[in-house]
Amino acid sequence: MIEIADLHKAFNQGQHNEYWAIQGVSLSLARGQVTAFMGPSGSGKTTLLSLIGCLARPTSGRIRLDGEDISGLPERFLTELRRRHFGFVFQQFNLIKGLSARDNVMLPAYPLGLPHRQLTERADALLAQFRLGHRADARVEWLSGGEQQRVAIARALINDPPILVADEPTANLDTALSREFLAILGELSGAGRTVLLTSHDPLVLDSPQVERRVALRDGRVVEA
């Protein structure tokens, strides 16, 4: 359960180019649901996702994660929460070039210091789950777009987080790959994971996998 109350986020606060990207958002998001944020460009979707995902700290307002207030936490603890609760899939996939698919998948778990065997096994299981077992040792820049996205999803799941956050996940994919992605979403949500995503893509927004749609405009919720 994620509860958001009167959330504000300013950029360049106190300077001439001060900009309030989020201006009083209140929302409540249930566990196990797939929620899509939509709205025109610049409406604050990415900013809101990064606040919820503990990537940034709100200027004011509250975010509660399972009842725990996370809005005033220092970065050190936000990181810890992020590692435990959230997995991220970015628009550009953001894999690290020069490393193998397996190494990329393992990266978020490095700070935890798990035994190497255990971690490799878990990464291999995830890669196999996304039909990438045979590509585990390939460098990520040699992979196709769809394969890269699946590596990114596997990476998001390595620490077994309950919530998956995806910003414009299908922007770089063609229709077939987008459908495949939606199918994976359906599986993950079916397995009990909460999914938060933003999208402009009608294919995503209108798909049956998306259970809830939240529309933003100028940093405010216009339709929930």
Binding site: R76, F88, F90, N94, L112, G113, L114, P115
Partner: protein
């Protein structure tokens, strides 16, 4: 605890891979770093070797040398002087020596002519030091002529060339018999150059010197430990001078390191952003960068030090010889004795690793505090 070890291992793995990915850039830094270590280590190893050599040579020299002063200048020891000293408690042996300098216009070098105390050299024969033998192309049995200061020509037969072992001191040495010496230099009969005294107990040396000064007010006792100290501080001073001159290089290197560390490529910035977004903490990034620094420093240190070792002990310090040694015209061809010295290693470490770490700390921290949400906005 095991978590901690695993974590460090992952971080080291990652930084190794990261170093590999940016080979060209890091090789440049590594080369500059190693060069710095190489130069500093060469200076240190070389002076250390010289110090050691001088120490070894001085160890064989007498504890006290007595000179006579006239008007503040060294003068010959007149006949009867030795007897005037009489017996001093603690002195094992007293000996009057004959030696002097000779300038050889042929090779434009100074030789030390000396009458050895412990062996007799037959009249008309010489024993020469190895550097002189090399310069003049001499082997045992050859004849050699010197024109004395009085203008007469003397011809000697080379009886023997001294071994190479301790060339620093014996390089320019010419040993000859007492009569030959006096004839060659027109040295007045019964006079000597100076007097040496052997003292067994090191704690007695100062007392002996005080007694000598009291008995012979016109004499000047020179203590071996003082000479040793002078040499040591002379070498230290030279080393310090060279290091100060190299401070410019050190600064340049620190600036280079700072620049390399702050001029992170866009790619590297993106990587750090990704790491932070997927759950690395600022401290984790700092630690990863710390390991990167350790790997670079250690490799540079190892490469530079080994290269310096080869340079000093196998190539005879070819690059620094003229600056650091310079005390005779005949450059001795001695081999320094290889030696690892903890203090020296520690000092070298301070001179290289510490400035590097200090220089890269702030840029690394800047990179590590990249906004975690930066990757969302690219």
């Amino acid at each position: 605890m095991t978590d901690w070890f695993h974590k460090q291992r992952y971080l080291i793995d990652f930084s190794l891979a990261a170093l590999g990915r940016r080979k060209v850039r890091n090789l440049g830094l590594l080369a500059a770093y190693s060069l710095l270590v190489f130069v500093l280590a060469s200076v240190m190893l070389f002076t250390q070797g010289l110090r050691q050599e001088a120490k070894r040579v001085l160890a064989e020299s007498p504890e006290v040398i007595l000179q006579r002063l006239v008007a503040g200048r060294q003068d010959l020891i007149p006949p009867g002087y030795l007897e005037q000293i009489g017996r001093i408690r603690g002195v094992q042996k007293m000996e009057a020596r004959l030696w002097g300098y000779y300038y050889d216009p042929v090779v434009k070098a100074n030789y030390t002519f000396m009458v050895p105390g412990e062996r007799q050299i037959p009249s008309g024969q010489l024993v020469v030091g190895p550097a002189l033998a090399r310069e003049r192309g001499l082997v045992a049995g050859n004849l050699i002529s010197f024109r004395s200061y009085s203008g007469r020509l003397f011809t000697f037969q080379v009886a023997e060339v001294l071994p190479q072992a301790s060339e620093l001191m014996s390089a320019d040495l010419v040993l000859l018999g007492a009569e030959d010496f006096r004839a060659f230099f027109d040295f007045p009969a019964g006079h000597y150059t100076d007097i040496t005294l052997s003292v067994a107990n090191p704690n007695e040396v100062r007392n002996v010197a005080a007694k000598l000064a009291a008995a012979l007010p016109d004499s000047r006792p020179i203590l071996r430990e003082e000479v040793q100290r002078t040499y040591a501080s002379l070498f230290d001073w030279r080393e310090g001078m060279v290091l100060t001159v190299l401070a410019g290089a050190l600064l340049a290197f620190a600036i280079l390191a700072w620049d390399k560390a702050s001029g992170l490529s866009a790619e590297e910035r993106r990587e750090i952003g990704i790491l932070k977004a997927i759950g690395w903490e600022t401290g984790d990034v700092l630690r990863m960068k710390f390991w990167e620094g350790v790997l670079i420093s250690l490799s540079a240190f190892l490469i530079g030090y080994l290269a310096a070792w080869v340079h000093v002990f196998h190539l005879d310090g070819a690059l620094f010889r003229p600056v650091l040694q310079g005390w005779a015209v005949l450059y001795p061809h001695f081999r320094l004795t290889p030696q690892v010295d903890g203090l020296q290693l520690a000092t070298l470490f301070f001179f290289t690793v510490f400035p590097y770490t200090a220089a890269v700390l702030v840029p690394i921290w800047r990179a590590a505090i990249t906004d975690p949400d930066a990757v969302m906005r690219t």
